[in-house]
């Protein structure tokens, strides 16, 4: 990291070595990661008192996998997240294909604002609004209503990375395809789409994670038989902390962490081009 060892502490004008920055960053990462690590560590704790470490054990994981309610909730979570992420990514991809082009048309800014709406508004507001909407229409609350709610708030999570990927593409490649006598349809299937696939997959995985982790929308739009893992965990936490919750929670954390790493890996080219953040 240090290019010149003689400049280590030499010059106060070197902003890289200002005092406090490193300490603040270390404290920050401890604050962010320690609670997660403690939770995971405690899930392997043999003891029932949850916070005092006694010995290593996989019992709570065994109990969690043997619990039919948990398996049922996990199944619901996976069904909802799969349907919601595939549907929202399909909708988002179609829209991004048109919205990413440079031409301006009436309402383009407005449409972009609408696509960002589900992530700008605090989730509780559309959740209860949709609850009233479905109730007025006489819908039965269950998996179907939850899936509709999830599709809507997953759209921006899929849309933004796909559009970014499209905007980062070299327009010359499309022109090159046209020069080589590809018609627009061929150019799309042979040139644009293959380049876009990593962006689409990245958006799909993000939408999947967001749906899998959702609590508020599922809580208000759910009904009998649509209990997901977060809803189940919430119910358990309310009645008291148990080591089983630690085990399921840790599994959910690890699943999200591996999925997001996958998504960022898939979308990495676009980061390199546009800079991170």
């Amino acid at each position: 990291m240090r290019l010149n060892p003689f400049r280590r502490r030499a010059f106060p004008g070197d902003a890289r070595h200002w005092p406090g920055l490193f300490t603040a960053t270390a404290v920050f990462f401890a604050y962010v990661y320690l609670p997660i690590l403690i939770l995971i560590a405690l899930s392997f704790n043999e003891n029932r008192t949850v916070t005092v470490w006694t010995a290593f054990s996989l019992d709570w994981y065994r109990m969690a996998f043997a619990n039919r309610d948990i398996v049922g909730a996990a199944t619901n979570s996976l069904i909802i997240a799969s349907v919601a992420s595939v549907s929202s990514t399909t909708l988002a991809t179609l829209a991004a294909l048109r919205m990413a082009s440079n031409d301006r048309f009436l309402g383009k800014t407005g449409i972009n604002a609408v696509f960002a709406l589900p992530i700008t508004v605090p989730e509780i507001v559309p959740a209860v609004a949709t609850l009233m909407f479905f109730a007025s229409l006489g819908f039965t609350f269950g998996l179907g209503t939850v899936i509709i709610g999830h599709i809507v708030f997953c759209i921006p999570f899929a849309y933004l990375p796909i559009r970014a990927r499209l905007e980062g593409m070299d327009p010359n490649i499309g022109e090159a395809a046209a020069d080589l006598y590809a018609n627009p349809v061929q150019a799309f299937w042979r040139v644009t789409l293959p380049q876009l696939i990593p962006g689409i997959l990245s958006g799909l995985v993000l939408a999947f994670i967001i749906s899998l982790d959702d609590f508020v929308t599922t809580f208000f739009l759910g009904g009998a038989g649509s209990t997901t893992l977060p809803i189940y965990i919430f119910g358990l936490v309310r009645t008291g902390v148990t080591p089983e919750v630690n085990a399921i929670s840790s599994l959910m954390l690890l699943l999200s962490l591996s999925l997001v790493s996958l998504s960022l890996f898939l979308g990495r080219d676009q980061n390199r081009k546009n800079g991170p953040g």
Binding site: I38, T49, E123, I124, V128, M132, V216, F220, L264
Partner: protein
Amino acid sequence: MTRAGKHTLFRILLIGPALLAITVFMIVPLLLMAYISFRGRDYSGGVLWDQFSAEAYVRLFFERELDGSLALNLNYMFIILRSVWLSFVTMVISLAVGLPVAMFMATRDAKWKAVLVFMVTLPFWTNLLVRNYAWILLLRDHGTINSTLIWLGIISEPLPLLHNSFAVAVGLTYSFLPFMVLPIYASLEKIDLRLVEASFDLYANRWQTMRRVILPLAYPGIVAGCVLVFVPALGSYITPELLGGGKTLMIGNLIGFQFGAARNWPFGAALGLFLLALVLTSLWLYARRYRGELEGGR
């Protein structure tokens, strides 16, 4: 069909489905919510559709006595003020922690930058409920923090860390801190370190350099970060629900309560509309000054 006509049809076919989904299942429900806030309350949990009523808005400030007269009741206002206050505190703490972290990140070389951005982003994608639950384990009477302090002999009785405003502020900061770090980092990332050196060459000290050089460069990121922390904190539901322990309610919980045990949909709708108005106003004020930044800041 004309070329222009084809173009329009193509556009509708591509953008239409997503636009329709958000319009029907989000914008229409929000409009319905505004309408319901002016309808009568059905005590069995629902709405008296044919009855106009501003009762929901009256309820924000007054309580109706048994004889029908109004008495001032600021309990709800108190919850709203607490939500704004807690979100503000969260924002200030996040800024105090986030700014040096962003500066540290922005002054590393490219390889480290990528690693640090990844590490800051990662927790955002993990389950919010689980992350807040982890704080219960830490803050409980027999939790990690109290056990450690007692073991060290610093305290003899556990400190009341959970189920109060402190716990909620800790949880909110924990939930939304990355939203402060990333935009500030983004605005500092391209900073030319020679500017800082030049400032020192001109006999500025660290404090002056900070105030005159770094803060002005970081300013757009700071404003974006403040909005991105304040807005979701204001509308948070899970954190006060879990860490506030039913006593430290925020607007989000008050709204949720109207659709559960309280069965007062028009009041819930009015509160929802109020929260929506607060959020959209702060976003609009922000967007008016910093057009185009909003989309960059995830």
